[in-house]
Amino acid sequence: MEAATIQAAQAGHKPSQAQLLRLLQDPWYRVCLSLLSNPDDAREATQETALRFLRDLPRFAGHSQLKTWSIGIAINVCREIRRQRHPADLDSNPDMQTSEPSPADMAGLAEERRRLHALLADLPPRQREAVVLRYFEDLSVEQTAAAMQCAPGTIKATVHQALRALKRRLQRVEI
């Protein structure tokens, strides 16, 4: 992403804004889909992310990468949607398990998505966010911390807990 394109988009240049949206729509959608496990919800969350991205773009100061900053917006949108759809599924309860997708949702998922969901389904929301950003989006610990708006040490601990939970689950399946 060129700095000139970002600056032009910040100034309201529509072609530059369209260029940024086309670059970022797939990462946003992937993050939203992996966090919400529902294609319709993910599409809605991606559109809301794009609207907030365009609204807040003039205030982007460049302290982090634009992609990292915009994924932070997507994560906030997904958290809000989760709270609206599942009020009990709060981030303050890390042991809360996410609900399994309905048979209709599973029918709409491709084999890869099913594998993805099978991996992430048992993780609490925070651990799922950390795993998606660290291992799927290949963000650094600092970038993940910036996107999730927490300290890098918190990210390390969260990722460690997530990997341990996944390993336990894997051992249960093998047994």
Partner: protein
């Protein structure tokens, strides 16, 4: 951990296979452009309508204004002009010709005398003092 890594890699392949089903730029940006275009079209339409109404009003009121100017113009006949102006302007009140502003000379002799202040001698002769009247 190797088994876990392989699971993560497989899940990552599924993760990267997902794409947004559409074009966000086409979905969001033209809406703003078309909204602005509607605002401009509405503004131009309102301006055109205002101009048309103003033009129609001018056309409607123009004959009445011509009539007024024609009636106010003095006719070609001088006699008619004189009558028209005399009808419009009020006549000056006529001043009586047989009244003179100067008083007549005989009127000065009929003026009453000025009252005189009594002198000291007149007072001594005619009015006694209080002491004398008592005694």
């Amino acid at each position: 951990m190797t088994r876990l890594r392989s699971q993560i890699e497989q899940a990552k392949a599924g993760y990267l296979a997902a794409h947004y089903p559409g074009d966000l730029a086409a979905e969001l940006l033209p809406a703003t452009r078309s909204r602005r275009r509607w605002v401009i079209v509405s503004a131009v339409g309102a301006l055109a309508a205002a101009l048309a109404i103003a033009f129609a009003l001018v056309r409607l009121l123009a004959p009445a204004a011509d009539t007024i100017t024609v009636t106010q113009e003095p006719p070609a006949d001088p006699q008619v002009v004189q009558i028209a102006w005399s009808a419009q302007m009020p006549a000056m009140p006529a001043f009586p010709e047989d009244v003179s502003l100067l008083p007549e000379p005989d009127s000065f002799t009929d003026m009453p005398a000025m009252p005189s202040f009594p002198g000291w001698s007149d007072i001594e002769q005619e009015s006694p003092t209080t002491q004398e009247s008592i005694s």
